[in-house]
Structures are given as structure tokens and as C-alpha cells.
């Protein structure tokens, strides 16, 4: 009897073992670690405790109110989105940082596991953890449904939004963890990232949270909005992915080509979307938002002068054969600068045309090219200031990237600024704590001619200073890009 049981047990184990061969190795490892350790159990129990607490408090204080289920749902949603947008990405990020610190990453890099599979592994792990937590919160969601006031479609769409965003943020967390090399820098990046991600994420889940979805489905714009979301989601995800791959795969595998390609694809997507007049301002703003994140990453990876290794100079020979345009996609000294500059100019042009076509209301469309220009100005300004003001031994590539982080921060502000001035609902999002100071600033701005003139003067002066400071680098980059590498 016992023997038969043991036999059956062994068969089950055998089956599970064989099935596990089809899964990503990193997913298996992380699942085992989660089961062997305590951290996940603690996070999970805390989430449950918060849900129970929230349900009890609302049930007790608002008993008998109309639409109680809707209220419970929103509170659960808030708790869960907090965990999914902050907790999950930081678990993933600390996992990746731990690997880098312990140098287990190096061991992984010399196995047959490709960087792409490593990132997929992290994403699968995030998805797995998400599902585990979602299963914990599911009974409470069912409870809110039973209380009335919220339908299944709303719950499902809301959870879908959280899931997609949480995966995207985990992807970003992976990238943020592999981009800067040192401890403090990674922490800084993660903090900035958390701030930005909170804003971006909360704007993405807005329709499920603040807008009654039942109405949203009847709006003619909804398909466009979803298309815009999907387009930006996928292309942004693609960029994060390639950037992560490039950072994980050591010197021997440089992937700046794919990164630059992904950046261009994303630019194409958002520029195309900008051509359609069906999008409301809030969504257009959202797209700018993502545009800025995209530039951040493009810059972080290609915006610095790269050291040529012998493998790359071999590629350089290839580039000479490919001709000037294609060589912009290959790594090499200063070509990153030229690439970003050209990409910025092209995007600004295309987006402006698109907006002239679609959103030509007063001077509002000017915001778009201004944002692109302002971005470039701030980036080059910050990095050249860093390069000039710092003592030589601090002029590391890492610090030069600090300019990028600064820009990221500024770019958290600008889209919100635009949104607030145009009265888009984004600013009323109470999750977005950074929006209050912007709201104040925006009230000072009235689209008058003086405002535009003073902003123009300021930007042109800044751009001029920066351009002169960085002139050699621009020229070198464009020349190298044109002629092909010389080394």
C-alpha cells in the first residue's frame, strides 16, 4: 500500500520534473527561492491583512450606503495597485540587483541562457508573483461584486490594466537595476523610477479607476484610446526589453543596433498615433509621457561616447560597407549623440505635422516640439555641465548619465503641466502627488503671447549655450555618422 503510494508519488514528481523542462529556468529558481524563504510569505500576508482591514473599515463605517461594492472595489484596487506597481517591481529589481552584487549574473551570462531569456525569466517571475497575489485578493473582489455597484467587466478590465502595467514596470525595474553599475546610483535610479512609475502607472489605470467604465465603452474614442495604449505599451516594452538585453549581455555582445531600432519603432508608433484626431488631450499627454521615458532610455544607452572594443571595430568595418545611414545604428564614439539628435529632430517634425493636422487649436500644438527641444536642451545641458564642472576623476559615464535622470524628472513634470493647462483629467488623479505643485505652476500660465515669447527666449538661450558647449561632440558625431567609423 505504502509502496504503491510512493510509486504514485514518484510518478507525479517525475511528471512535474518533465513538465518543468518546458518552463523558464529562472522562473523555477525564483519559485523555489520564494518557497524556501520567508519574504514572499510576509508580503502576501501583509497584503491580505490590509485587504481584510480595508473591507472591515468600509463595511463598518459605510454600511447600508448605495454603491458600497464600488467603494470597496476602489479601495481594494488602490491597495492592490500599490503592491503591484511598487512592491512587485521592487522585488524584481532587488532580485536582479542581488544577482549583480553576488555576481551570479556573470555565471548566467556564460551559460546558454541568452539575455532575452533572463529578462523573460524575470517577467515570468513577476507574472507568477502577480497571479499568486491576485489569487489572494480575488475573494475580496468577489465580495465587492456581491455588495453591488461594480460589474465583472470593470473588475476584469481593472485587473487587466494593473497586470499589464505591473509587468511593464517590472520590466523597467529590471532595466533600472542593470543600467547603473554602482549601489547608490542604482538606488537613486530606483527611487526616481518609483516616482515616475507611480505617475505613469496611475495615469494608465485611470480609466478603470476613476472613470466609470460602463460609460467609457460607449464612447467613440475608446478604440483609439485602447489602440494608442497598446501601441505605446508594446513599443515601450520593446525598448525596455532591448535595453535590458543590451545591458545584461556583457561587452562581448553589444546590442546598440537593436536599441536604436526599437527607439525608432517607438517614435514611429507615437508619431503615427499623433496623426489621428480622435485622441483626447489626456491620452495625447500620456503618449508624450511615454515618449519622455523612451528618450530617457535611449539616452541612457546610446547618449554617451562609447569605448570601441575590437569586436565593435570589426563591426565598424561592416558599417563602412553599409553606408552612412545604417552606420548610425552601430556603436561607436559619439555616434550615440548624433543618433539621438537626429531622432529628436525627426520626431519633433513628424509630431508637429501630425498635431497641426489634428490638434491645431490656438497655439497649443506648440507644446509638442517644445517638449522635444526642451528635452534635448536639458539633457545636453546637464551632461555638459557635469562634464565641465566636475573634477576629471568624477567624469564617469555613470555621472554623465545623471543628466538623463534629471531629464527624466523634468519630463515627469512637463506632460502633467500640459495636461493641467488643458484641463485634462490626468491632473485630478489624487494618486499623483507630484501633480499639486504643477497645478500651482500651471495656474500662472495663461497661453498669452508674453508667456510664449518669454518661454521661447529662455529655451533658445539655453539651447544656444548648450549647443555651443557640445558643438565639437555634435560635429564629430554627425561626421562620424556620415563617414562611417575611422578606427
Amino acid at each position: 500500500m505504502n509502496g504503491a503510494n510512493a510509486g504514485r508519488w514518484a510518478a507525479v514528481e517525475e511528471f512535474a520534473d518533465r513538465a518543468s523542462d518546458r518552463l523558464n529556468a529562472i522562473l523555477i529558481r525564483e519559485t523555489r527561492r520564494a518557497l524556501n524563504g520567508k519574504l514572499f510569505a510576509i508580503v502576501f500576508s501583509v497584503l491580505l491583512a490590509i485587504c481584510v482591514g480595508a473591507c472591515l473599515i468600509i463595511g463598518w463605517s459605510e454600511a447600508g450606503e448605495e454603491g458600497l461594492g464600488w467603494m470597496v472595489f476602489r479601495v481594494l484596487f488602490l491597495c492592490f495597485s500599490g503592491v503591484a506597481f511598487m512592491g512587485l517591481p521592487s522585488i524584481i529589481s532587488s532580485m536582479v540587483q542581488g544577482e549583480i552584487r553576488e555576481k551570479t549574473f556573470e555565471l548566467l551570462c556564460i551559460t546558454n541562457v541568452t539575455p532575452a531569456r533572463i529578462i523573460w525569466g524575470e517577467l515570468w517571475t513577476a507574472a507568477g508573483l502577480f497571479l499568486l497575489m491576485a489569487s489572494g485578493i480575488a475573494p475580496f473582489m468577489a465580495f465587492s461584486y456581491l455588495l453591488g455597484g461594480v460589474d465583472v467587466r470593470t473588475i476584469a478590465t481593472g485587473m487587466g490594466f494593473i497586470f499589464l502595467m505591473s509587468i511593464l514596470l517590472s520590466l523597467f525595474a529590471t532595466v533600472a537595476a542593470v543600467v547603473p553599475g554602482r549601489e547608490i546610483a542604482s538606488k537613486l535610479a530606483v527611487v526616481l523610477f518609483a516616482l515616475g512609475a507611480w505617475g505613469a502607472a496611475s495615469s494608465l489605470v485611470m480609466p478603470s479607476y476613476w472613470v466609470p467604465l460602463v460609460d467609457m465603452w460607449d464612447e467613440p474614442q475608446t478604440p483609439w484610446i485602447l489602440l494608442a495604449l497598446l501601441g505605446t505599451y508594446l513599443s515601450l516594452g520593446g525598448i525596455f526589453f532591448t535595453v535590458g538585453m543590451a545591458r545584461i549581455g556583457f561587452a562581448a555582445a553589444n546590442r546598440s543596433g537593436p536599441i536604436r531600432l526599437a527607439v525608432l519603432v517607438h517614435l514611429a508608433v507615437i508619431s503615427t498615433i499623433a496623426w489621428f484626431g480622435e485622441l483626447p488631450q489626456a491620452w495625447a499627454t500620456l503618449i508624450i509621457y511615454q515618449h519622455s521615458v523612451l528618450f530617457l532610455l535611449g539616452m541612457a544607452c546610446v547618449g554617451e561616447e562609447e569605448e570601441l572594443t575590437c569586436r565593435q571595430s570589426r563591426k565598424g568595418r561592416l558599417a563602412r560597407r553599409l553606408g552612412p545611414i545604417w552606420s548610425l545604428f552601430l556603436p561607436g564614439a559619439s555616434r550615440g549623440m548624433a543618433f539621438v539628435t537626429l531622432a529628436g529632430i525627426i520626431t519633433a517634425g513628424v509630431t508637429t505635422l501630425g498635431l497641426l493636422n489634428a490638434h491645431a487649436i490656438d497655439t497649443e500644438w506648440l507644446a509638442w516640439p517644445w517638449i522635444t527641444l526642451a528635452y534635448l536642451v536639458v539633457y545636453f545641458g546637464a551632461s555638459s555641465a557635469l562634464c565641465r564642472l566636475l573634477p576629471a576623476r568624477w567624469r564617469t559615464p555613470l555621472l554623465r548619465r545623471a543628466g538623463v535622470l534629471l531629464v527624466f524628472f523634468v519630463f515627469l513634470m512637463i506632460p502633467l503641466f500640459v495636461a493641467v493647462t488643458t484641463g485634462a483629467s490626468l491632473a485630478r488623479n489624487p494618486l499623483l502627488t507630484v501633480s499639486h505643485p504643477i497645478l500651482f505652476l500651471a495656474n500662472l500660465w495663461d497661453y498669452s503671447v508674453q508667456d510664449w515669447v518669454s518661454a521661447t527666449l529662455l529655451l533658445v538661450t539655453l539651447a544656444g549655450v548648450v549647443f555651443v558647449l557640445r558643438l565639437p561632440s555634435f560635429i564629430r558625431g554627425i561626421r562620424v555618422g556620415w563617414k562611417g567609423p575611422t578606427s
Binding site: D17, E106, T111, F250, T309
Partner: protein, 307 residues
């Protein structure tokens, strides 16, 4: 494995300066040098973790620079620090790496079993791998390196921090691996440690390859330069003068009633020196050719310029 004028610069700093060497299956190749010599840098390039500035290395004719993905399955690299995951059992750790090398099903389980057999880790399979002792970690590292049955092993200071007994056991493991036809590149600071297991050694300092060859060859090349201790009953001053003028003597130091003579010449020349002293009527009580040991060779070849 063929290493061909490999160079790695970090900015202006040359960490590895166009070094070339090679070894074959079954060889144990020792790579010796003081701290900062560039051993780890070289090994990381060979393990495809880093790219050389110029130069190349080939395994069976396949370049590690151009085809890193193809090379990885035939190379096992053990870094100088053992990296482990928290909350993972020894067996799970090996299982994970077996999966990452694409082993599946029975082949994976057999690979894990056989490396655990080989490194005698069976008793520890249910131990967390971050709680292992240094020696056990080193074994686990070796087991991990062997999991995909690579043809070339690159071991960076595998014996550092091991007690004498563990060292001997580790050596036995390496000898067994070499018998199984693996080419092994092993680095160390200590030439003596390597001399017992390696058939070929290379000494590197400040990124430059100083000498390379079988230990006996290196020793023979350096033997011309031996130290002889000659003890006298008295008349040490007179002896000193006489020895100094003898051809082939490079330097003489007086230590009590003994002379330490640095002498260039083979055994016949040494016999001639002794004959000359005795015939000169000096009271020689002792004449000892001091064999150069490996430490001396190492000290002599390297200049002690740590960077």
C-alpha cells in the same frame, strides 16, 4: 586552446599586454603572477565575459571573440569568488545551472548526480548553498563548472583559502579531470602550489608574459644562475677576494664564516670552482649548491612590481 596576442586596455591602462600561449586536452596549464598581474582579466576574456581590445583566443579553432555563443558550451569558468543564491539548496543550485545549459529530463538529473558524485557533495545536497564553508563552496563551484561537461576548464584561484587537506583533495579532483581529457587553465599566486599539478606554467606580471613552458624547462633555463654556499674554517677575507675574481661569479655575500656566491655555470663549472679553492689552500669545510626552488624562480622572474 590558443591565445593569440591578447590585449586588454582599460582606458590608457594596459591590463593584459599581447600575451600568447596555448594548451591542449589533458594539459593542466598553470597561470601564475602577483596581484594585479592580469590573470583574472585574461581568464574573463577566455570565458567570454569580457572582450579583448585586440587579439583573439580560439578553442578548437573557434574564436571566443567572434563566436562567444558557440564557445560557451565547451568552456567551464570558475571565478575567484563563488557566487551563490540565497534560499536555494545545493541540489537546486546545480539543477538550475544544468537547466541553463539546456540539459533536460533524464540528462539533467544524471548530470546533477554525476557532478555531485564526483565532488562528493551528496551529503550536503539539502543544505542551503549560502551557508556552506569555503571548501564546500569551492567544491560546489567546481561542480557547477563541470555540469555541462565542458572540454576546457578555466579556474581562477580555485585553491585560495583552502586548508591543506582540502587542497590535496582538490588536486586529486583536478588530476582526475585531466585524465578524463579536459584542458585545464588554473591560476594562482603561488608557483609551488601549481608545480605539483601543472605540466606547463606561464608566469605573468603587469600584463606581460614573462616565461612560459614546462616547470623543468624553466628551472633548467634559470639553473645557470645558482647560489652556492661555501663554508670556511678561517681566512674568510682572503677567500672572499679569491672567489670574487673567479669567472662566472656574479656576487658574493659574507655571512659569518660562510660565503653566499651567486654563480653562473653548470655542474662542471662548480666542480672547477671547488677544485680551485682547495688547490689555493683555503680550508673549505662546506660546499653546498643551493637548489633553486620554485619560490626563488618566481621571485627571480617577477620584479615585484605590483600594480
Amino acid at each position: 586552446m590558443e591565445v593569440d596576442r591578447l590585449e586588454r586596455r582599460f582606458g590608457d591602462f594596459v591590463a593584459v599586454d599581447r600575451i600568447s600561449f596555448g594548451f591542449r586536452a589533458g594539459d593542466i596549464f598553470g597561470f601564475v603572477g602577483p596581484n594585479g598581474a592580469g590573470k583574472t582579466t585574461t581568464m574573463r576574456i577566455l570565458a567570454t565575459l569580457d572582450a579583448p581590445t585586440t587579439g583573439d583566443a580560439r578553442v578548437n579553432g573557434v574564436s571566443v571573440v567572434d563566436y562567444p555563443d558557440e564557445i560557451r558550451s565547451s568552456i567551464g569558468f570558475m571565478p575567484d569568488h563563488l557566487s551563490v543564491y540565497t534560499n536555494l539548496y545545493v541540489e537546486e543550485y546545480l539543477d538550475f545551472f544544468a537547466r541553463t545549459y539546456g540539459l533536460s529530463g533524464r540528462r539533467r538529473r544524471e548530470a546533477v548526480q554525476s557532478v555531485m558524485d564526483f565532488t562528493e557533495l551528496h551529503s550536503l545536497r539539502r543544505k542551503m548553498c549560502d551557508t556552506l564553508s569555503k571548501g564546500m563552496r569551492q567544491r560546489l563551484g567546481l561542480a557547477r563548472t563541470l555540469i555541462h561537461d565542458p572540454k576546457v576548464l578555466i579556474l581562477d584561484e580555485p585553491a585560495s583559502g583552502l586548508d591543506p587537506r582540502a587542497r590535496i583533495e582538490f588536486r586529486a579532483l583536478l588530476e582526475e579531470l585531466s585524465r578524463r581529457g579536459k584542458g585545464i587553465l588554473i591560476s594562482s599566486h603561488i608557483l609551488t602550489e601549481l608545480s605539483e599539478i601543472c605540466n606547463v606554467v606561464a608566469i605573468i606580471e603587469r600584463g606581460k608574459l614573462l616565461t612560459c613552458g614546462a616547470i623543468e624547462e624553466i628551472r633548467k633555463n634559470l639553473r645557470r644562475h645558482s647560489v652556492i654556499r661555501i663554508g670556511f674554517l678561517d681566512r674568510i677575507e682572503e677567500a672572499h677576494k679569491k672567489v670574487m675574481l673567479y669567472p662566472g661569479v656574479q656576487a658574493v655575500r659574507v655571512a659569518g664564516k660562510e660565503l653566499e656566491v651567486e654563480f653562473v655555470g653548470d655542474e662542471a663549472a662548480r666542480a672547477a670552482l671547488l677544485k680551485n679553492l682547495v688547490q689555493g689552500g683555503l680550508p673549505v669545510v662546506q660546499f653546498a649548491g643551493h637548489e633553486q626552488n620554485l619560490e626563488d624562480i618566481f621571485m627571480e622572474v617577477t620584479k615585484g612590481q605590483v600594480q
